[in-house]
């Protein structure tokens, strides 16, 4: 059994004893084989000394047990790393950022506390996955949708807190943005409820997110200021239909007006689905369009058809664009339609995305896992063309980039007005290869920052580097976060280092 850093055997033994009393002996894991299950299977340092690993894990099942575990950790100054379902693969999985931390595994907190169809919201615990929430809604025959990300086994809360997004209509596919109220255990064990939840016997915790006075929910996104134990989410009432049309162009420069039109339509909420943009270095052979944009609209059928007519008129006002009206799917989907659609666009969680990333005809010998490089760039055609030049220079035309089998860029529009140019790096057990992946990843971060782009989310191994690129005014944002960290977690026990925020005793000068 390994010790957490800067913790004596006596203190650790005392904490383990207290935790066993709090949660039961079977839910405190110290055996090497059990602790190894918390390794990040997609770690870019897998098997190397720098790999971030846990020293132990403890798995409470209730709010009160979380409080007890945290109080014990605070008393003995033992670093904890909360996870929800631990399936944040490509962004750290279930491993801590600060190696040697004890993982606080919240998977057993798996209650769907409420799904309210009338006002379309849910209140859940961290161990509830998208599959769990979907199944709950199906069994209860409620007429609301969830918004799943690509893999459905992740935590609804964990994905939102890590900044994840999905594939149905705005604003629901912005997972943190669609939350409404949270319950948080602070480092001293105290419980806070945010927004309207701070009112004893509140009747509107999941109805209105702002409450009274300063809004603090954002402090718990990608952070280490508390352990979120409940969170509310607004759900989408099932839309009657989804129609996805396609706009294409053979001309490279047309991406500029295509995005200008798209952005205006989206900002007016006429296009409310998650658009997809294909083109650039991934474009297929001659004769295929250089750019393709998918334009999805959710809503009642007459409204969808009328909106699509307007959308068509706006795009076809540009003579070089071709508009192809897509099939309209009515919901609930027919058995035939279920086999022909992308399920996440209809609020149905699944794991089919792994077919693209795993062994398939185009990738017969996969490395294993992957990590994502996810810079945010302005949602303009000029930016896409500039990003493509950057990608060509550093990946496509780079021998290392070709050797590593890097996939990208995937232009993601989970968030309104936002464009993420995702690049995927295969990660395996080959240390020499992983070393090259890390070097290229770090180079891409630095060059992107020089161009004014930075990542919105990253694996633990790169969080310090990326945080350091947000350096305006002598890194005043980082210093503000450190001030807050020291105030709410003076012993620095919670998720040390997460997203570049370190407690005082671990901060580099």
């Amino acid at each position: 059994m390994s010790l957490p850093p800067n913790v004596s055997q006596t203190a650790f033994d005392a904490a383990l004893k207290a935790w066993r009393q709090s949660v039961g002996g079977e839910w405190v894991f110290t055996e090497a084989a059990d602790v190894a299950l918390y390794r990040d299977a997609y770690s870019p340092f897998y098997g190397e000394p720098e790999e971030r690993v846990a020293s132990a894990a403890v798995a409470p099942a209730t709010l009160e047990e979380v409080q007890a575990v945290v109080r014990t950790a605070n008393q003995h100054r033992i670093p904890l790393y909360p996870i929800s379902t631990g399936r944040n693969l490509a962004y750290g999985g279930s491993a801590p950022v600060h190696s040697g931390s004890v993982v606080l595994d919240l998977k057993r907190m798996n209650r769907v506390i409420e799904v309210n169809e009338r006002n379309a919201y849910a209140l859940v615990e961290p161990g509830v996955s998208y599959f769990d929430l979907y199944d709950h809604i199906q069994k209860a025959k409620l007429d609301v949708w969830i918004d799943p990300p690509d893999p459905g086994w992740g935590s609804v809360i964990g994905n939102a807190l890590d900044g994840g997004g999905g594939w149905t209509a705005a604003p629901f596919r912005d997972h943190f943005g669609s939350h409404c109220g949270m319950e948080v255990v602070l480092a001293n064990g105290e419980v806070v409820r945010t927004g309207m939840g701070a009112l004893p016997n509140s009747k509107s915790w999941q109805h209105s997110r702002w409450g009274f006075g300063p809004w603090v929910d954002g402090l718990f996104r990608q952070s280490n200021f508390g352990v979120v134990t409940k969170m509310g989410f607004h759900l989408m009432p099932r839309p009657d239909a989804l129609m996805t049309s396609t706009v294409t162009s053979m001309r490279d420069e047309d991406i500029v007006p295509m995005l200008d039109v798209l952005n205006r339509l989206e900002a007016q909420h006429l296009v409310n689905g998650s658009t997809q943009i294909f083109g650039g270095p991934n474009r297929p052979g001659a004769g295929s369009p250089t750019w393709t944009i998918q334009v999805p609209i959710y809503g009642p059928e007459p409204v969808v058809r009328a909106a699509m007519d307007y959308v068509k008129a706006k795009f076809t006002a540009i003579p070089s664009l071709k508009f192809t009206e897509g099939e309209l799917f009515r919901t609930p989907l027919s058995p035939d339609a279920l086999t022909r659609v992308r399920l996440v666009n209809f609020g149905i969680p699944n794991l089919s995305t792994f077919a693209m990333l795993g062994r398939n005809p185009g990738n017969p010998d996969p490395a294993g896992g992957h990590i994502g490089f996810s810079p945010i760039v302005p949602r303009t055609g000029e930016s896409i063309l500039e990003f493509r030049r950057y990608y060509d220079e550093h990946v496509t035309k780079s021998s290392v980039g070709r050797e590593l089998g890097v996939v990208g860029p995937v232009y993601m529009t989970c968030w309104e007005r936002t464009l993420v140019c995702l690049i995927m790096f295969p990660i395996g057990r080959d240390k020499a290869r992983n070393t090259k992946v890390r070097a290229l990843f770090e180079k891409l971060v630095r060059v992107a920052a020089d161009r004014g782009w930075a990542e919105y989310r990253a694996p633990a191994a790169f969080q310090d580097l990326i945080a350091s690129t947000y350096s305006y005014n002598d890194s005043s944002l980082t210093r503000l976060r450190e001030t807050l960290k020291d105030a709410v977690d003076p012993n620095g026990i919670l998720s040390a280092g997460r997203y570049g925020v370190w407690p005082k005793h671990l901060r580099k000068a």
Binding site: A59, N116, F131, A140, G152, P332, L357
Partner: protein, 110 residues
């Protein structure tokens, strides 16, 4: 998983928890494995094994006769390629025993 939403009955549902009693091996399989390993398109595990075995061995886990319960347990706890290991808070040792017996039910030592 592929049933879609039916219209209202209850407006509000309160607290549900996963599994009060110990689930059967089939239930564990359906909860954790079927989304990747069921037959047909859209199942990445099945797709991967189709390519790996090229028809020499069934790609659908439940059709396998060469997969011992012990081997199932090893894959669950160690993972393979994209499939990360499953922790004991996800699949307990008791559930793993039931799952391994269920998936390995057709195993015949040769």
């Amino acid at each position: 998983m592929k049933r879609l939403l039916l219209v209202f009955i209850g407006l509000v549902t309160l607290v549900s928890t996963a599994g009060a009693a110990e689930p059967s091996g089939q239930q564990v399989y359906e909860r954790w494995c079927a989304t990747c390993h069921a037959p047909g398109p859209g199942h990445p595990g099945t797709q991967s094994l189709e390519m790996k075995y090229g028809g020499k061995s069934p790609a659908v886990l439940l059709d396998r006769t060469d997969l011992s319960p012990q081997a199932v347990a090893v894959f669950v706890r160690q993972g393979v390629l994209l499939m990360a290991p499953f922790r004991k808070t996800e699949i307990s040792d008791t559930e793993l025993a039931a799952l391994s017996a269920y998936v390995g039910k057709n195993f015949s030592a040769r």
